[in-house]
Subunit: 341 residues, 2 copies
């Protein structure tokens, strides 16, 4: 089969690799209908993470089940399934509390998960994969693919920030996750949704997804603008979808005392000042999104065509052109690249 492998920073190749096989009785093998490139895949691509040996890339996936191990009971060949970047048993105490990404038996399918390929092996299939009500038409595939990571992550950010009726929600970050957080806040019933963005196309999609206000300022100026829009108090709920020090502090400072920060941007060199956090009176919650918690609900909303998160993909390429997809995301020519195997 064809699979995407990173050999070195900037060196991504699509090459022939052995087909994956069932290795444990809890595994499934799926044939991918679509996969995509994640912002986090750019770290090794840009040399920020080491590439010590060739890495099979990709961790966002939807597809058709081809084969299941002998212990798998809830998933059957022929079904269209959505999974997430962590495999989880979905039965341990942590999973049952809704934190499948901290499952005591989790297996991380992060960069190196091998999803940018024609086929992939998914561990703990019963706990990880969720089948759609039927095999969807091609037009719904990008929406289900978004649910695999960016939608589930934005959704968790909105839930962690307690977005809901009567709330003013601000979103820091206008990448695919931030835009999906806007969509989630709308679906959760937020009264007012402030998207922080200075890119025309992303502002427009934020509005389509439910943003009522756009703030173009960043850092301290961005905080001031949020305060002006909220009677000087700050937003009730702020979603952080970047992961930098500046974005985290902007999120904390934009939140009113007693409000909630939901942070889903993967932290990079962030250190939080204890005294300021103490005096801020905010609630802070986040981490690797337990996408599995939300999948049944998200799948239903997509199946019913209530939401269209696939709109975040602004470039679609055949899997064979994965290298061009990496270049497009690296140069910011594209926000999010979908690959068709």
């Amino acid at each position: 089969m064809l699979a995407t492998v990173m050999y070195a920073p900037g060196d991504v190749r699509v090459e022939d690799r052995p087909d994956p096989t069932i290795q444990k009785p809890t595994d499934a093998v799926i044939r991918l209908s679509a996969t995509c490139i994640c912002g986090s895949d750019l770290w090794p691509y840009r040399g920020a993470d080491a590439v010590d040996e060739p890495i099979p890339m990709g961790h966002e996936y939807v597809g058709i089940v081809e084969e299941v191990g002998s212990d798998v009971t809830s998933i059957a060949p022929g079904q269209f399934v959505v999974g997430s970047f962590f495999a989880s048993d979905n039965t341990c105490e942590i999973c049952r509390a809704g934190y499948q990404t901290s499952c005591v038996n989790r297996e991380i399918l992060g960069t190196g998960g091998g999803a940018q390929a024609q086929r992939m092996r998914v561990p703990l299939a019963d706990g990880t994969l969720v089948a759609t009500p039927g095999v969807p038409g091609d037009d719904l595939v990008p929406d289900f693919l978004a649910a695999s990571d960016v939608l589930g992550t934005g959704w968790f950010g909105a839930v962690a920030a307690e977005a809901g009726p009567g709330k003013t929600v601000a979103v820091v970050g206008d990448g695919a996750v931030g835009l999906c957080a806007v969509l989630a806040a709308r679906e959760l019933g937020a009264e007012r949704i402030i998207a922080m963005s200075r890119h025309d196309a992303r502002q427009q999609l934020a509005r389509e997804f439910g943003a009522t206000d756009i703030v173009t300022e960043r850092g301290d100026a961005g905080v001031e603008r949020i305060k002006e829009l909220t009677h000087g108090l700050g937003a009730h709920s702020v979603i952080e979808a970047v992961g930098t020090q500046e974005a985290m502090m902007q999120a904390i400072r934009s939140t009113r005392p007693g409000g909630h920060v939901g942070y889903v941007g993967v932290s990079h060199d962030v250190t939080l000042p204890g005294e300021e956090l103490f005096m801020s009176h905010v609630h802070l919650h986040g981490g690797p999104a337990p996408v599995r918690r939300f999948l049944p609900d998200l799948i239903e909303r997509i199946w019913q065509r209530t939401i269209n998160p696939g709109r975040v993909f602004d470039l679609e390429l055949p899997l064979g052109d994965a290298a061009a997809g990496y270049r497009a995301m690296d140069t910011r020519a594209a926000t999010k690249v979908l690959l068709r195997p």
Copy 2:
């Protein structure tokens, strides 16, 4: 009247000062029934905070209302009242959300509040003071005094940590606030309460207050012990009542993914590592306790003799001996010193 004034580190004097008077129509003047020395009063005493001019000390107080300003409607002379270390209007949007210590009109009565005296002026009396059902007997006065700060603070820690039925709660810190957090966790219905303490007397009081387990280890060893007691997962709820880097990290690392850290120790030189916090999946909430939120409930529990938080006072002195009280707390001869004006 007599009042406690700090002139320099280590130099605390009780001296004659002018009686306080109503300065604004929202003020009240109270005659103190009891006051006490706070751990935070030791910072200037030990030279950790500057003493640039003589500071009237104290911010924990209960007493009889002597006079109220013309705008005060809910408090009347002759009533026994409990207040807190922040004055709040209790009507703004932040107060109504339960964060009176971040009231938009708050006045901080921290160190320098002047409560270690025979009389004090309380701003925003309607929003700050809560009257007891009647004037209590002397035996209840220490309990009400505890409600003014350490009980309210421990209670907020337990609420922020979402202590409740079915939960295993751990408390980091065995000072007056930590001990009151144990009491709060019991009252909130926690199933198991682990007090972290290596002092015999405090362990004993922790057990009286409801601790089911005592852990004497600290730091990483303390974390390991909590994990051993919770099937390797960590506690559902952890209350941090110290404010140091070690205690904060101990609290975060003792909490299971999806669990809650309530931190009420005033942060000192704490910086939180973003990546570890992100991966921990904990909820983090805390800050200066909005004691006012809990006062009506706490007063009722004390009045009904359901709880006896005054047990945290292990030394009682006349106000005139305040300097000896400071020495006793500085040398750790006493946990918490009550002063009778």
